[in-house]
């Protein structure tokens, strides 16, 4: 329908709107509220609740405002006798079988039915019969059911079909016996399942972890940004405000609508991770004296750090010190962390703890960002995923990919595992992880031959012996003919790959051929921000490249070398580092280590000399830069426990100490943000972010080798989410090694229940599961467990045998 402006009247008000809009949309825009239950702006129209019936002049029957398009001169009456009569009749029907016990319902106080019953319900109904009761189903640890309260609006069903792409809920039976269920009795498995709680207008589906923990009206609502992926979904933290003993507790997290980021949705990880903030917290500054941990004052702890580090700089030199910071730290924390250390003379500063090889060259040339905004991504015409698995790792980005795919985009994937996609893929090519770079190079070759342009001599030599398989050919033809709308997405596992530089170099070559910019997904919530704050060994604040003399070692290199002191910010080395075993050894042999984190760790207690409790995610103000390059600044949602300090204040104090100043240079967080902003703007103005292109090396087809891939499950990515009980209960099978049948056969472990993985001198034993989505010669090894720590895997060659 052509969108042309027309004029209608609603309740005698003349309103301009577009032909084809629905009455309810027009009324919403004009601020005229029409009661509704089944209508949801992000879902298809069902028109089944009938609550939005309105009178329309010349229509003998009231019509649903959610399903009736406007037409020129239409006269709508939302509160006429006919409309109100219809709305009240519907309300009576909805209430006859709904329990009228709002005080014992978790939804009470924020329930659409309760609210509307106040306006449209009768004090006393005519219904005098027995009410319907519906059996509850166990939908898993996240979503609680009380299906007797269901009003059959089917929002949750439509959410599963249309948004999650996983029809987990449906309507069973019919008439008055109709009920919502899974039929199979399975638990919800979608990565977006928690959204059914939000779309449910009544108390039928509620959040299990926060159920009956508080009333909505007693919560304070604070805007925050989620911290577990590079999308940075907008959230509201609901904080208990009445009771002092609960003042430090987030009661629940809900999505905060933002069309540019997460629309109105939220991934389960972002929604339920808040629980993790209540567990295993560091609450007091402590120092180790004669092997015993003692609680000390902040003054004493900071003095000790300053003294020991200054002493170390004087006796040996600052190159014996390294700083390692989590990729979830804020821009400001990162900036002050590196500023303090660099003032001290430290060069080895890094936020990349999961690398197998050096990736400085990549971070030099590319900002870890996607080349489009998320709404643009949803409209792209084609996409190639290179070792990117957004469904679980960046769910809200995957939601945009799904939108694009359903709108007809050609989505293709090349990686070491099959995509667990909830949309149709054009090609999903799985290759042994050790051969990733050569397959991308082969793709370049295929594209070049399809483009009908003479192959540049340099490339022609590099690619001469490379074999182009049928699947690669299919991807190439899928890429050719895509306009500039094409997106080439490099997943964060690429940067953990030993060949990362070559993979990206060839991908860059491919992108140049197709005239598109490469897009990067990154680890944690702020990899992009930490680059700008200078938390890389080769980059200073603003993302300015450092001179050779100023460049330091990467985190992994500094652990390999074994220095004398390490400052570790919010990294649980045993779980979060690639090559954890080596890192732990380096830490244990060092003379002085500082561990600054919201979370306690048994391993840290062994290797650290000072432990400082810092505020976690939502407890601190700060800025995160997401994968689109948006700077998202928020204020802390709640105060941390008494002795816990925001990390930026800790580093600001240490910096002031170092500079021997009486007053702190950075006394408010805004002043920190501004400094980074200026540095970044200056760097952009000077073109320092452009970098130089990578040079792809000659490559030839090689035989694949058995490789282990260090894999962080989506609910195990950071210390915070690992402590969240409901999320951990949701996935109980995460600690298995996965490989396909062929790999198992060639490694002679087909019948093994447990396998032993050996890399160099270290070993780990894991339960095995055969998984045909994994490529040949590829073994997915789960990180974040004791066996994984003792193995200390670095993505690369391994040996695998059955355990006796």
């Amino acid at each position: 329908m052509s969108a042309h402006a027309i004029s209608i009247t609603i309740d005698h008000r003349s309103i301009q709107c577009q032909a084809g809009q629905l009455i309810i949309e027009v009324a919403d825009q004009a601020g005229i509220y029409i009661p509704r239950f089944c209508y949801h702006p992000k879902l298809t129209v069902a028109a089944n609740c009938r609550m939005c019936l309105v009178e329309i002049a010349k229509s003998p029957k009231p019509l649903p405002a959610c399903a009736t398009p406007v037409s020129e001169g239409m006269c709508v009456y939302t509160r006429s006798r006919m409309a109100l009569k219809a709305q009240k009749a519907v309300m009576e029907f909805l209430l006859i079988n709904h329990p009228l016990d709002c005080p014992i319902c978790d939804q009470g106080g924020e329930c659409d039915l309760q609210d509307l019953a106040l306006g449209y319900g009768m004090a006393k109904g005519q219904f005098d019969e027995a009410k319907r009761a519906v059996e509850d189903e166990n939908l898993g640890p996240l979503v609680s059911t009380e299906m007797t309260r269901c009003i059959h609006c089917t929002r949750c069903v439509r959410f599963g079909d249309e948004i999650a792409g996983m029809p987990e809920l449906g309507v069973m039976s019919r008439g008055g016996k109709a009920y919502i269920g899974t039929y199979l009795g399975t638990e919800l498995r979608s990565e977006l399942s928690g959204n059914v709680i939000d779309v449910c207008p009544v108390g039928a589906l509620t959040a299990k972890p926060s159920r009956f923990h508080g009333r909505s009206w007693s919560f304070k609502q604070r805007a925050q940004v989620a911290r577990h992926d590079c999308v940075g979904s907008h959230v509201y933290c609901h904080v208990q405000s009445h009771y002092t003993d609960a003042a430090h507790t987030i009661m629940r997290v809900l999505p905060r609508a933002n069309e540019a980021v997460n629309e109105v949705w939220l991934s389960d990880r972002d929604r339920f991770s808040y629980e993790g903030l209540q567990h295993q917290r560091l609450t007091l500054p402590q120092v180790k004296r004669a092997g015993q941990w003692q609680t000390v004052s902040w003054q004493l702890a900071l003095d000790l750090i300053t003294d020991r580090l200054s002493g170390l700089v004087q006796t040996s030199d600052a190159d014996q010190i390294a700083g390692v910071i989590s990729s979830n730290a804020t821009l400001e924390e990162g900036f002050l962390f590196q500023q303090w250390l660099r003032t001290l003379g430290v060069r080895h500063i890094d936020c990349r703890v999961r690398q197998a090889g050096d990736t400085e060259a990549i971070t030099m040339s590319a900002c870890p960002q996607i080349a489009k905004t998320l709404p643009e991504l949803a409209q792209c015409s084609g996409c190639l995923l290179i070792e990117a698995f957004p469904r679980r790792q960046q769910p809200m980005l995957n939601h945009r990919m799904r939108q694009a795919a359903l709108a007809g985009a050609t989505v293709m994937a090349l990686g070491s595992m099959r995509q667990d996609a909830n949309y149709p893929l054009h090609v999903d090519h799985v290759v042994p992880v050790s051969t990733l770079s050569q397959h991308i190079a082969a793709l370049v070759k295929a594209v070049l031959s399809l483009k009908d342009e003479g192959m540049p001599a340099v490339l022609s030599k590099s690619l001469a012996s490379l074999e182009v398989t049928e699947s690669i050919q299919a991807i190439a033809s899928g890429l050719i003919g895509q306009a500039s709308d094409l997106v080439i997405l490099i997943g964060e596992p690429v940067l953990r790959h030993p060949d990362a530089v070559q993979i990206v170099a060839w991908a860059e070559c491919l992108a140049n051929l197709l005239s598109v910019q490469l897009s990067f997904l990154s680890e944690g919530s702020n990899t992009a921000g930490l680059r700008l704050s200078g938390c890389l060994p080769h980059m200073g604040p603003g993302g300015v490249p450092l001179s050779e003399a100023e460049c330091g070692l990467s985190a992994r290199a500094s652990f390999q070398k074994g220095l004398k002191a390490y400052i570790v910010h919010d990294v649980m080395v045993e779980d979060d580092c690639m090559g954890a075993q080596q890192a732990l050894m380096a830490l244990k042999q060092a003379a002085f280590n500082v561990y600054i984190s919201p979370f306690d760790s048994a391993h840290a207690r062994e290797w650290a000399d000072v432990m400082l409790p810092c505020a976690a995610g939502y407890e601190t103000s700060g800025t995160l830069v997401n994968c689109c390059g948006d700077w998202q600044t928020t204020s802390s949602a709640l105060a941390a426990a008494d002795e816990v300090r925001p990390a930026w204040k800790i580093y600001a104090a240490l910096l002031a100490w170092q500079q021997s100043e009486d007053t702190m240079q950075f006394d408010c967080i805004e002043s920190v943000t501004q400094v980074i902003q200026h540095a970044t703007q200056a760097a952009v103005a000077q073109g320092l972010h452009q970098g130089e292109g990578l040079v792809p090396e000659a490559i030839e087809t090689t035989e694949p080798v058995l490789w282990g891939v260090a894999h962080w499950h989506d609910f195990r990515v950071d210390p915070w989410v690992r402590q969240a009980p409901a999320l951990q209960a949701q996935h109980d099978d995460v600690m298995r090694v996965r490989c396909n049948h062929a790999t198992a056969e060639s490694s002679q472990i087909l019948d093994a229940e447990y396998v032993q993985i050996r890399q160099g001198l270290t070993v780990g034993r894991f339960p095995l599961v055969l998984d045909e989505s994994v490529a040949d010669h590829t073994v997915i090894v789960p990180m974040t467990c004791a066996e994984a720590t003792s193995l200390g895997l670095v993505t690369g060659p391994i040996e695998m045998e059955a355990c006796k």
Partner: protein, 428 residues
């Protein structure tokens, strides 16, 4: 004897093996279709003829067929679909089954002509789940027609392609609602769709679609063979042609009778053997249980036509005539009907999902003589609250019988209020 009895759809009632192709062809069948394939007349002319015949939808709503056909945009891109609705589920109706059993080829011919007239290439014939034998007959007939080159690709050597499929339903009343049928054909739950958009613009798989009743489509070959005027003149000025009535209830010889529209109810009653001796006609539901009930005395002077039934406050509906003599417990009759509707409500929209059960509970209570004070009024109010507020016409199907029963037979229903409860009311 009634003139023109069983002349259109039910004309082979007594012909042996009438459902086979040789017999049908011998009787002059497929002549119209062969002529159309040979001469390729303008489709608009066919639609005009159907309009001139006065043929109206025989499924219940009585919408003029020619007009419905003219709504389809023949130039629309992509496939267009014809759907034949043989999901005869309306209580009291069993006339389409007779067509399917005795005259499947005439239906196939009618579908082919309709498809040709509307520029459609695919026909789906949807039969209700219980129609095992009719389905077998239709499958056999379709196979014969296909083998004879009448259906399929390159029909009779021409460039015409019309594909046809028989689909057996899974057993539900609401799938007979045309948009629910389209959902079912798409493999989904049979939930009626909200209209607009109407099937003529966005029907099956979002493409232009026409859904016609079995009897409607089966009438078309005869209209074209004998001319629209012949058909129109069989009936009254406002109701052209004949109509099949399935008469059941308290009559001596229940059955299906195809009579010209305008035939008196008296005649229909005689055809079905009349009432048992000594009995009088208490009430009649003339068009399936969804239509309003009519008191017997009014019916006895009424004529069976669209306007005739309107005059007595009901409608011809699907032609399912249910006769109730003076032995009938009307409260129980209503309760049985309401049990049916609460069982068959699809549960999609609130008024029907919640209201159908409530209405049924109230009607049951009255039938059992356990009614509470005010139950009849409550029954009326609840039914009124459903009517006109649902996605499909099921709301009316619940409400019309209730309101008409209360209108005409209130005392019989109030008799169901338990004496104890009555005393409370009277004792005030």
């Amino acid at each position: 004897m009634v003139e023109h009895l069983d002349t259109v759809c039910y004309r082979f009632k007594s012909v042996k093996d009438s459902w086979t192709l040789p017999v049908y062809t011998e009787q002059g069948g497929y002549a119209v279709w062969k002529e159309i394939v040979k001469t390729a007349p303008a489709p608009e002319d066919i639609i005009e003829k159907v309009k001139a015949s006065g043929l109206r939808g025989r499924g219940g709503a009585g919408f003029p067929t020619g007009l419905k056909w003219s709504f389809v945009d023949r130039t629309a891109a992509g496939p267009k679909y014809l759907v034949c609705n043989s999901d005869e589920g309306e209580p009291g109706t069993f006339k389409d089954r007779e067509i399917l059993l005795t005259n499947p080829h005439q239906l196939i011919e009618g579908m082919l002509i309709a498809a040709y007239a509307m520029g459609m290439n695919v026909c789906y014939h949807f039969l209700r789940g219980e129609f095992a034998l009719p389905f077998q007959r239709c499958e056999a007939a379709l196979a014969e027609a296909r083998a004879a080159g009448l259906v399929g690709e390159g029909i009779l050597g021409s460039k015409l392609n019309i594909e046809m499929h028989n689909i057996l339903g899974a057993g539900s009343y609401i799938v007979g609602e045309e948009t629910a049928m389209l959902e079912a054909l798409e493999g989904k739950r049979a939930y009626p769709r909200y209209k607009p958009p109407f099937p003529a613009t966005q029907g099956l798989y979002g493409q232009p679609t026409t859904v016609n009743n079995t009897e409607t489509l089966a009438s078309v070959p005869m209209i074209l063979e004998k001319g629209p005027e012949w058909f129109a003149q069989l009936g009254t000025a406002k109701s052209g042609g004949t109509k099949m009535f399935s008469v059941s209830g308290h009559v001596c010889q229940p059955g299906v009778f195809e009579v010209p529209l305008g035939t008196s109810f008296q005649t229909l009653l005689e055809l079905s053997g009349g009432l048992a001796s000594g009995r009088s006609c208490l009430a009649v539901i003339p068009g399936g249980t969804s239509m309003r009930v009519v008191p017997g005395d009014q019916m006895l002077s009424a004529e069976m036509s669209y306007e005739g039934m309107e005059a007595v406050g009901s409608a011809i509906g699907s032609g399912g005539v249910i006769v109730m003599d003076d032995r009938t417990d009307l409260a129980e009759a209503l309760a049985v009907m309401m049990q049916f509707y609460q069982h068959e409500s699809c549960g999609q929209c609130t008024p029907c999902r919640e209201g159908s059960g409530w209405v049924s509970t109230l009607a049951d209570r009255l039938a059992q003589g356990l009614g509470r004070s005010g139950d009849v009024d409550r029954l009326y109010t609840v039914a009124q609250q459903i009517e006109g507020r649902t996605i499909c016409a099921f709301g009316e199907a619940i409400s019309w019988p209730v309101s008409s029963f209360i209108k005409h037979f209130r005392p019989q229903l109030e008799a169901g209020i338990a004496p104890a409860n009555q005393a409370v009311e009277d004792g005030q």
